[in-house]
Symmetry: C2
DNA sequence: GTCCGTGCAAAGGATTTGCATAATC
DNA sequence: GATTATGCAAATCCTTTGCACGGAC
């Protein structure tokens, strides 16, 4: 069924793609950098290049399987897109990411877009700070 | 009084700093990349290096004179920080940026941080889409 | 005069690209 | 078997750093 996801996305089923999808599914925390994914592949003994990791992640993003975030400068993080939108709390100390969803905020955003004659395609709310453990 | 801003920020008053501050003040749109600032300096005949632009912008950010955003991958944009917090609407076609402020959203964010035992230091809401002209 | 700031060029890190080989359908 | 994906290495882009010179106080 991992393969089905790939095929539905119009992508050929290949070893790197299946592997990367598997890694993203199992990931804990769910947010990984391209480098994280690459390292995970190496650890399981795969013979893969960084270029492929980036290519595959970009294809996944285009296909809507994955979301890419730029929480902090320097590098993007990727997470599996499981359909339900959510926003993020990012700890500036440990880099940890938590997710949340708030109905009111979502509604406000839609209204603001409308008020500004903006055709919203995406939106991104990130709260930065210190998590419980890092205070 | 531009100089006063600099001195208050604990920065020596130098030509590049004054010039960059001036450019940010006059900027329209208010959001510039480092490259934009650099080009603006060259156009007014300044003999300056990119490195200085980055250094100065970073110092300004540290001093709280400027805010840095990562709306899109690849490069940061800078805007003068005039104290009042606001969020952004970013057009994915023309790159244009509009600003807005919503009391309700601000309140919700504070609550969410509290609910998650998060000590919020900053927050960032960006709505992506197509602006009026680009639809 | 001392110290900090600057310009230049080179380094750095994340990401992308070109190309020959290898895998999928 | 034809086409698309991959690995490798080199290239690219934005940003930072090292160092000797120049300017601010």
């Amino acid at each position: 069924m991992r393969d089905k996801n790939l095929r539905q996305a119009g992508l050929k089923v290949t070893l790197p793609r299946t592997n990367i999808l598997k890694i993203l599914e199992k990931a804990e925390p769910r947010h990984l950098t391209a480098e994280d994914v690459y390292q995970a592949l190496l650890e399981q003994g795969e013979d893969v290049g960084v270029a492929t990791v980036y290519r595959v992640l970009t294809q996944f993003e285009t296909a809507g399987l994955v979301k890419r975030h730029y929480f902090e400068p320097g590098q993007a993080v990727f997470e599996l897109d499981q359909g339900e939108h959510h926003d993020h709390l990012v700890c500036l100390n440990c880099g940890g990411v938590e997710e949340f969803f708030d109905e009111t905020i979502e509604r406000c955003q839609t209204e603001i877009a409308k008020k500004n004659n903006f055709q919203m395609t995406d939106h991104n709310l990130t709260i930065y700070g210190l998590c419980q453990r890092c205070v």
